[in-house]
Amino acid sequence: MSDHDLPLVLGIETSCDETGVGIVRGCELLGESVASSVDQHVRFGGVVPEVASRAHLEAMTPTVRRALDSAGVGLADIDAVAVTAGPGLAGALLVGVSAAKAYAMALDKPLYGVNHLVGHVAVDQLEHGPLPKPAIALLVSGGHTSLLLVNDLATDVVSLGDTVDDAAGEAYDKVARLLELPYPGGPPIDRAAQQGDPKTIRFPRGKWGDGTYDFSFSGLKTAVARHVEDADRRGEPLVVADIAAAFQEAVVDVLTRKAVDACVEYGVSTLVISGGVAANSALRTLAGQRCREAGITLRVPRPRLCTDNGAMIAALGAEVVAAGLPPSSLDLATDTSLPVESPLAR
C-alpha cells in the first residue's frame, strides 16, 4: 500500500491547556493547529481547569478549520477521527471527546479514543519515521514523568516507572515560583541555568539508584526551598543562575540516567524523549551525551511536536487504524487516569 492509500486521520487533543488538531496520513504530518490558553493561566501560576475548559470550547471548531486549511484538505477527505480519551483534566477532555464524536458521527467515519501519553511517543514518527520495535520512551511534561517500554505503539506499551509525586515540569513550575521567575517555569529556568554553575550546590537526586525506574521530584523542590531560606538567613547572595543550574542538573541527571539504564537492561537501542520538558536544552544535551556513550539512538521531536498538540493524537490514531483495532463506540467515556498500557480506550 502506498502512503497515499493510507487513511487520513484527524486528531483532536484537549487534555490540558492546549486545543490541538492535527491531520496525519501514516507517518506524514499534513497540517496542524494549536490554540493555547496558557496566557490565561499565567496569573494563577498553574493551569486552572475551568479556565482551560472554557477556552477549549471557544477554540475547538476554529482550530479544526485552521488545521484543515494548513493541510489543504476538507472534512470530507477525513477517513477517521482520533481524540484524546485520557489521561488529563476531566472537563477539558470532555470538550474534545464531545466534538470528536460529533465530527465522526456527522462524517460517518470511525472514532478512536486514544491515550495522550502514547501520543507523545507516536508523534516522533512524524519527524523521524517509523519507530523501531521495541523502543524506550521517556515522557516528561508538566503533568507526567513516565518511562515506557514501547513494543508496539497501538497494542503493547509497558510502564517501567513513573513519578511517585510531582511531575518534572511541575517541579520546574514550583521552583520557578520560588526563584520569582515567571510561569511556566521551564523556559526561564533553562535560560537562567545557562549562565550558572551547576556545581556550586549539590541538590538531591530523588530515587537515585533505588533499583526502580520511578522518579521523585518533591524532595528536590523542598531542598531548593530550604537552600534559598538558609542562604537568605545567613545573608548570602542568592544567585538565581547557579540555583537554576544546580536544580536543572539534578532533574536531568536522574531522568537521563534511568532512561539509559532502561535501554541497557531491556537491550533496546532507541530512546525517544518527548513531552513539554523535552524542549529543555540541558535534558537534550545530557541525554545526547549519555546515549552516544551507550551506543543508543536518541530521538527527540522538534519542540512544537513535544508539547501537547493534535498531530500526536492523529499519529497514534493512524497507528491504531493500521493495526486494525476496532473503533471506539459513541458512548466512549473520558478517563482522567487512563493507564498508559491502553493506547486505545475501550
Binding site: F44, S53, L75, G91, S98, A102, V240, L330, D331
Partner: protein, 225 residues
C-alpha cells in the same frame, strides 16, 4: 425545516428532531430524555444517532442545530455546546442557541406569570421570571433561594422543587422539572419561522471560574540575577 435540538445543561440529557412546515406548524419526529447528571458525555451522541434512525433521517438532512446554552453546571453544559458546534461545522448548517430556562418555560404552556429555576449547585439556583411561556422578563440570574423575591408567583423547575422548604407552596406548581428538547426544538423553530433572533450558541456561565491569584512572595529577597 428539519432541526436537531438538544440540551445538557441540567441533570437531563435530552434530544429531539423536529420539523416545521411552510405554515410554521411543528411536527415532532423523535425525542428522548434521560436523567443522569454524571454521564452527559457518554449519553448524548448515541442518543442523537438513535433519534435519526427512529425519525428515518440522516444527519445530512438537517437544516439546523439548536442547543441549550444554559445556564447549568459547566461540564455537562459544554458537552452539548461542543457537540453542537462540531455537528454544525461538519454539516455546514447554522447552529442556534436557546436559553435552557426559556425551553423549560416554554414547556410549561403557561399563559400567566411565573418563575422558572434550575439547580445551580453551591446552594444556588439559576432563575428567570416570565410573563407567559414565551415571554421572559429581564435577564437570567443566579441567586441563593432565600434571597430571591419570587413575588408570590408559581415556581417551576427542579430548582424550585429542591428548595421547596424555602419557597413553600409556590414550589409545588405543576410543570416540568427539567428541560425537554422537544420543547426546545419547537421554541427554536417558532422563533426561526417568525424571523425572531435566537441567541448565539455560546454558554451562559453567569459565574467566573473559581481560581485564586496567588499573593506576592511574603518576603523580599535579594536575588542576584
Amino acid at each position: 425545516m428539519l432541526l436537531l435540538a438538544f440540551d445538557t445543561a441540567t441533570p437531563a440529557v435530552t434530544a429531539a428532531i423536529g420539523e416545521s412546515g411552510g405554515d410554521g406548524a411543528f411536527t415532532l419526529r423523535a425525542s428522548a430524555s434521560s436523567v443522569d447528571a454524571r454521564r452527559h458525555g457518554e449519553l448524548l451522541s448515541p442518543t442523537i444517532r438513535r433519534l435519526t434512525a427512529e425519525a428515518g433521517v440522516a444527519l445530512a438532512d438537517l437544516d439546523a442545530v439548536a442547543v441549550g446554552i444554559g445556564p447549568g453546571p459547566y461540564t455537562g453544559l459544554r458537552v452539548g455546546l461542543a457537540t453542537a458546534h462540531a455537528l454544525a461545522d461538519a454539516l455546514g448548517v447554522p447552529c442556534h442557541g436557546v436559553a435552557t430556562l426559556d425551553a423549560l418555560a416554554f414547556a410549561t404552556g403557561r399563559t400567566g406569570p411565573f418563575t422558572a429555576m434550575t439547580d445551580a449547585r453551591r446552594k444556588e439556583v439559576f432563575w428567570a421570571r416570565y410573563d407567559d411561556r414565551l415571554t421572559r422578563v429581564g435577564e437570567i440570574a443566579v441567586a441563593r433561594p432565600a434571597e430571591l423575591d419570587t413575588g408570590g408567583l408559581p415556581l417551576v423547575g427542579d430548582g424550585a422543587r429542591m428548595y421547596a422548604d424555602v419557597f413553600g407552596e409556590a414550589a409545588g406548581a405543576p410543570g416540568p422539572l427539567h428541560p425537554d428538547a422537544a420543547a426546545l426544538a419547537e421554541l427554536a423553530l417558532y422563533r426561526l419561522h417568525r424571523g425572531e433572533p435566537l441567541p448565539s450558541p455560546e454558554p451562559l456561565y453567569l459565574r467566573r471560574p473559581d481560581a485564586v491569584v496567588p499573593g506576592a512572595p511574603k518576603k523580599v529577597r535579594q536575588w542576584v540575577k
